[in-house]
Subunit: 350 residues, 2 copies
DNA sequence: CTGAAAGCGCTAACAC
DNA sequence: GTGTTAGCGCTTTCAG
């Protein structure tokens, strides 16, 4: 040993045997207390808990995993370049901690041909007790099927249930998008453009439908020439912005299916010396941090990602414990956030 | 059982015993092959590997953890609201995967009084083989000391070694900041303001020194009234921007110790109808995603977080294996990224 | 309600 | 070079 220090900088961890001895009970009883089993007399329980406290006992998780054939680990599979994953992690962990679950993360590329193999690799031999799936990975063909096949409990964030054993947590994308159109209409806008998100993503589709609903409600013409297809990225927002700004007459408002694309449209407007919102209103969706940092600040829809993730994780932990949630699809509502990028429509269309 | 399906959707995982049997060797030999031990004849190794392949053998990690008294887990402790953590995770994982290490993440609040207890809780009983620490958590008094005390190998990203057993990976904050001043000076700027970052953070301090170095090199006056103290946030950037824009004469360029604050300054400029970079140049540091999304796009310094994190993780894995890295402090260089937010100084100061 | 004993799948001495 | 034998700390039958 080349180590200079003596050993034992960490006091030898107490084990269940120590606790059992100290409390004068059997090791099994300690285990029962640990696992919140019902069949323990309160007095015994108290004695054990006291002993645990006194010895600073902390269960050894590898041992629990091995003996119990469970890992107390939840896997989170996501696309490596997703910007919103931090919120999801925070939400998931806040539900995991009280239940003593940990999180194993697996960033990957949702466009990689080997995606399914990667996922299989990640979860077998059952290295996690359950999985949280998020778009766009969860929208890739075969991913959810694979997970079902492997028999791993899972909850999908922002997707629809595929069958009666497929749990999801989502937000009211469609209704709230309609609400945004309403907001623009009230400001006097008639030519409202829409920048669609990636077509494979369920939530993006709902946002588009909500837009159509809103246009129908307001009895506005839906002009196909000002509905453009983006790809969720800032760059695609720029492309869409350029296309839209060329239209005659120009739209007076642009509603984008996410904030990144909205930021792209704002850039295009700046470059053309259009003042926002005087000459053009722009709205986004998600309320990413960037929505507050662009100028002018973006009117958008706050998607409650962290609470959604938290709910998903607690549903998942329920599933792992064989407590089937009552509803397949849980909804947490989004909220319209009006900032400075939307305003009254210009007096006459340009 | 309420489960509709029969069992055994997953073929029973092969164990080392199965592999040993199949290969006609002892279980210990299989273990040796698995752990890349040297003492195995190539022919035997080949036989074993073939058997593993044939059976689709995958080692059971809880069992390895328990028997080997190692977890093959690296902990990442970070401040929950850090925006850059995704890159760090990606970097760390890319170094972990080939070595079969996994990542356990621990978001926390670096301002919480209970921070040290939380950290102790997270890592004991040794639940991770090593730790990666990042600012601002790593800058909190007592954090690194605690980790040393607990005897857990660790590597700090973006910090200085505290002693000869404290490994760090950082970037050339000071030199590259000087370079930014040089860039501004070459554009004709003389009144260059600086927005300082949170004073407790080592890297922020270096950036400030680099600014001073650059001013000295250019033989420019350092006017204390245009050096303001921010707190790393967008909001504090706004405050600093307001203060700076009131100065007479106004600075012609503002160099901010991070991109968030720079974005705040840009907002203030927009509101005052100052055109960037015609009336004012603004520069940031970090090259966060937002740097490309603001308008105009931000001249900044690209901090290679992902490579830094990757290096940190591989150093850490070395430490865990008792391969002491040669250098305490490794540097990966940052790079000046010139975009549209900096330009020639106005002909005369306003 | 509580206890005794048998492993979970692997690693690590120690023999051969 | 390779095999044998004990456990790691916990959960889980199965008795009492």
């Amino acid at each position: 040993m080349s180590s200079a220090r003596p050993e034992a900088q960490i006091a030898q961890q107490a084990t269940m045997v120590d606790v059992a001895k100290q409390a004068g009970v059997s090791i099994k009883t300690v285990s029962r207390v640990l696992n919140r089993s019902q069949n323990v007399k309160p007095a015994t329980r108290a004695k054990v808990e006291q002993a645990m406290e006194a010895l600073g006992y902390r269960p050894n998780s590898p041992a629990r995993m091995l003996a119990g054939n469970r890992t107390y680990l939840i896997g989170l599979i996501y696309n490596a370049s997703s910007r919103y994953i931090t919120s999801i992690q925070n939400g998931v962990l806040s539900a995991c901690r009280p239940e003593h679950y940990d999180l194993l993360i697996h960033p990957c590329s949702y466009t990689a041909p080997s995606l399914l193999d990667q996922i299989r690799e990640f979860i077998t031999p059952p290295r996690v007790d359950g999985l949280i799936l998020v778009p766009p990975v969860s929208d890739v063909d075969g991913v959810r099927e694979l997970v079902h096949e492997l028999g791993i409990p899972s909850v999908v964030i922002s997707g629809e249930p595929l069958d009666e054993t497929d749990w999801t947590v989502c937000t009211n994308d469609r209704e709230i998008s309609k609400e945004m159109v309403r907001h623009l209409y009230r400001l006097g806008h008639q030519r409202i453009a829409f920048v669609r998100g990636h077509p494979a993503h369920k939530a993006m589709d709902d946002r588009y439908r909500g837009y159509l609903d809103g246009m129908a409600e307001a009895e506005l013409d839906v002009d196909e020439s000002i509905i453009v297809q983006g790809e969720n990225t800032f760059e695609s927002g720029i492309d869409c912005g350029i296309r839209l700004m060329r239209r005659q007459p120009r739209p007076t408002a642009v509603f984008c299916a996410n904030d990144h694309m909205a930021t792209g449209v704002i850039k295009v407007a700046h470059e053309r010396k259009l003042e926002i919102p005087r000459d053009l209103s722009v709205a986004g969706f998600d309320d990413m941090p960037i929505a507050e940092q662009v100028w002018p600040q973006l009117t958008t829809i706050r998607q409650p990602l962290e609470p959604m993730a938290q709910l998903a994780a607690s549903q998942l932990i329920g599933l792992i414990r064989d407590e089937t949630p009552k509803e397949l699809r849980r909804v947490i509502e989004s909220q319209l956030i009006v900032r400075q990028s939307t305003g009254p429509a210009p007096a006459e269309a340009a």
